[in-house]
Symmetry: D2
Subunit: 348 residues, 4 copies
């Protein structure tokens, strides 16, 4: 029996705890040996919750202090490049949360660094591991609904994102922070890259929630044309308040397929005939993708063990960032934007 893969968790926020739980409570193949966060109380709280002794304010200190095999990076987007390059440079395998980075140059830096150092780079697109997404992809790939023609993917999140995550200057806003998964999903299932995008957005709740971030929007609707002629639609609503909602619908040449449903638990009840039948809904993303989070981390550990490239890596992360950049440009300039404009911008 092989020794577990030793993991250093970078970041101590919400998704960090989800990954810590996977490794500590569900994956004997991994071992959480260290945690890094510059904010002392966040660091202590997470370390205590998961019984991690080795605690550091920076990844550099962790690398110098103890030996481990891999990092799981869960910090804000603008920190990704430095952390990923540092880890890869030290020969650590990298699991990197989405969105990959703020721009394509950063994505390329990360990809090159992982490649040059021979480490595995896996992006945190857990939907690719969620059983019903996997099953849907399998059915599409076997031709069950024919060539996809039209794919719609939506993510509606209940609460207002933190300031850094809704500000175009520190992140790429909701299109990136909430809808990265949808960008990846539509491209994955269509089997083609985006050709051009058009985006409309709206701000209904910002004022009432005291949001002063410039260019804030809480509703976004993306229209995509793929290189193969297919069409795509992405919807983001955040805060939507009513729950966490992630669903996909694909129309192929031979049929239709839906992934996910609005209700979340197989308990339904009715206690008032004037009200109706109630189905509990997913309240949060860790509930909605409970399986996917475990399975993506298991895949990361297995990829390290086997030395095989993971199913979702830097290229997938880069394409999602490219879509976000084109989409944001479309919205600001009120016109369809070709991916070629962001992939190879014209020189002034």
């Amino acid at each position: 029996m092989t020794d577990p893969v030793r993991v250093c968790l970078v970041g101590a926020g919400r998704v960090a705890r989800v990954h810590a739980n996977s490794i500590v409570n569900r994956l004997p193949m991994g071992k959480l040996v260290a945690i890094v966060d510059p904010v002392p109380h966040a660091l202590e709280a997470a370390a205590e919750q998961f019984g991690i002794q080795a605690r550091f304010a920076s990844l550099g200190e962790a690398i110098q202090s103890l030996d481990f095999d891999a990092v799981v990076i869960t910090t804000p987007t603008f920190t990704h490049t430095d952390l990923a390059v540092t880890a890869a440079g030290a020969g650590k395998h990298v699991f990197l949360e989405k969105p990959m980075a703020l721009d394509l140059a950063e994505c390329d830096t990360i990809i090159r660094s992982a490649s040059a150092n021979g480490v595995i780079l896996q992006l945190g697109f857990m939907r690719r591991f969620e059983p019903e997404f996997v099953e849907a992809a399998r059915r599409i790939q076997t031709g069950e609904i024919g060539q996809p023609m039209l794919i719609k993917s939506l993510t509606h999140g209940p609460g207002l994102p933190p300031p850094w995550a809704r500000d175009l200057t520190t992140s790429n806003g909701m299109l990136a922070e909430v809808n990265s998964h949808d960008w990846d999903t539509v491209r994955w299932l269509m089997g083609s890259d985006y050709e051009r995008v058009y985006v409309e957005a709206a701000n209904f709740k910002g004022a009432a929630r005291g949001v002063q971030t410039p260019n804030f929007y809480d509703n976004v609707l993306v229209n995509i044309r793929f290189q193969n002629g297919g069409l795509g639609s992405i919807t983001g609503v955040c805060p939507c308040d009513y729950g966490y909602d992630a669903r996909v619908e694909i129309v192929g040449e031979k049929g239709i397929l839906q992934i996910g449903r609005l209700g979340g638990t197989d308990v339904i009840f009715c206690t008032d005939r004037d009200h109706g039948l109630v189905t509990p809904i997913y309240r949060t993303w860790p509930e909605r993708f409970a399986q996917g989070y475990i399975l993506e981390m298991e895949h990361f550990l297995q990829s390290i063990r086997s030395g095989k490239a993971p199913k979702v890596g830097g290229l997938e992360g880069r394409w999602a960032v490219a879509g976000v950049l084109a989409g944001t440009k479309s919205w600001l300039e009120e016109r369809p934007v070709y991916l070629s404009e962001v992939l190879a911008p014209q020189k002034g």
Copy 2:
């Protein structure tokens, strides 16, 4: 174009209004020409609502006063035999609400009277006309799920039945008043007659609702063995408070089939992630079987026009009554009861 079938409605209660609505607003093939009810204010209210000029306190008066082709009898069970015999004796076709009658002798009297007078006799088992029941029966008959082995049918009604309908001495209680449809449905879909039945019942809400009827029960669970070896289960809950609920599940040698669902309208919504997704439920039986009520009446009118026997007649009504009698006997005597005991009771 033929003249409409002239109908005299007997009774002015809830189901009477459902049938009146079908004839007046949805069935050009019929014409509601008279209404009968001994209670003046009920008679006036219904007559006004549907614009019926000819109003009578008794069926006899109606027959003497004007000409018509058919009666629709919607009065309490204990009045059925006299009314049906009177109508048939006057050459009127008879649509008779369920339960057919209080005992098998009454059923036989009605059947003989209709037969002797050459009139059509249709029982008010509207589920046989509700589109999803029809579709299920069609699929079963084409062998889609193989020979049915086990059929469960339930009817849960929201409110407390009126005193006469829950008293074993004036009706046969909930097994008859609420579950007649289930008795008919399981026999229809199994394609076999009941051989023996066993019944358990419970009284949870009677005291709190001030029910003093002896032998009152608000929950009933019937276990049936059919002559072909198949099994059946009927559930009744009344008052269930939460809505009107009627569903069937059939397990055949090759598969399973369900009729109906708990939710009632194809509008679903969620406004609170701690509460969940809401599907409006059927509140009442006229909502639940809105199509079936129109279609059974159309079938009655068509049967009169064509002279063909209706799909559901006296025999079906009689078997449902037989099931009820055996079931009640089982419950009171705490033992399985063979249908042969009620079909041909032993002489002391």
Copy 3:
């Protein structure tokens, strides 16, 4: 009791038969007294099916030959204006199928003619009468999900439309012929007019089906910004082959609401564990909107009786046409198009 409203049916095609069925078999308030179609065998077939004696090759002949109160116009779009104006000019109330007309000038001509002649003009947007749409609208209007922010409506039809209906020169293509209902629905439920639209379209099946129509598309995706800042999305797929599919999803400030579902009948069954549970789907639009077709015609007859304006008239038809025109222009010119451009086009 009042006499039935006498109706002359113009057109003998598929939707004509749906309306004929409503009047002849379900609406005692109406009477189908004549039918008009220039194609003899279509005329005869429909007339025989519904027992209509008075048959004409043109509306003019019908008007001269017998007396009636109203017309139901079901012919191809390019004939609507002449027929509607002829009927209104003769004092006949007009029920007009969608799309209203080919352009806004035609719409205005029809509206003015109905108004000048004091006749009722109702557009064939039956979704406004389908029970779950009515219920959804009621819930939205009572504020249950708050102000709508984002509305998606889709219509996918199984078969290839006839040549005239997919040719931009004789109709306005699928955006008009298939998606008129969606244009009306999103505007109705958003409670605001379109401000600008952006459209992508694709042609996946045209070649294989031998379609030579220029500008043919079988997939279309519309992005709408409403005047109130809300967002809208319309999807059309035709031929989609897999069934008839019409659903709506609305995200409001307080919650989400869905209208319709992919499955169509409350019978579900499973006979093969490697295949799965099967829910019959709506095969055609007459099945999907069976109630709506009866209820819209009943509303038309009631509006004639009461003299009140119908719930959906010329203005609604005109807005749907405006959306289609802006959408088609957007698609051809590959840019977002403001409604102001089609409502009041700039002079060269």
Copy 4:
């Protein structure tokens, strides 16, 4: 960090592999250190699959050869008592698969042995840990649907059970082998013990499948009266062929609640409008209760760690056996049987 709980797996069949997978791949808190099975090839196959070095033909050998903390017993019912007593006698904590044993004397022996040796005894009722069952129980306990009045639970399994499991002389037949879970569930959720039961059974497929076991049945329908006056119904169908199906429906004084649904995966698709929408169904019980199997084993390990009694122990196992015995007696004697008859049988 504490050392993992060392587990010896007894049995190498299907459920043994499910538990092995939980411990080896999902529960770092446990460690599978040995496996026992008298059939060499079964033993080797399972040991290889999960990388277990220590392999034994009997539990006694395992106990003598290496040190461990707990056993997981997955062998046929008739072996349970000896194995459980052996393990407890050696101070090993016991996880015991259902049904607990063949009769109540055996149950008592097991319970006494565990108690006398101070070891934990947990029964394999994984439904008590499956998230939607837990959630349902929580809602019932908080009074959401009021006092349960009527509970129905069904288990339909796809394939023919092995000869020993369908023979009343070596097991207690399907009522025990398939429906043990239902016996436990209805008692748990009703919050009351069975008072009397009545059972009907049928044999539809036995002949065609070449079953020669005396008293074989493939359909069973149980009617239960609880001590609190509530009613219960259990259905078993095996082989049902169409999938693995386990659902519960509870009617309480204030409402209704359903656990589980017929469809099994949140992927739905339609590729043929004459066929319909397809929802993949659960094919097997390991799929259906994938979460419950992990969670019950985690609970067992946690109970060992904490020293607290597990949520489901010998008493629950014993009541399920009592229900099975009364039910089988009812079926054979064709009469309702009181639990008092099997709990304290009359002396001849």
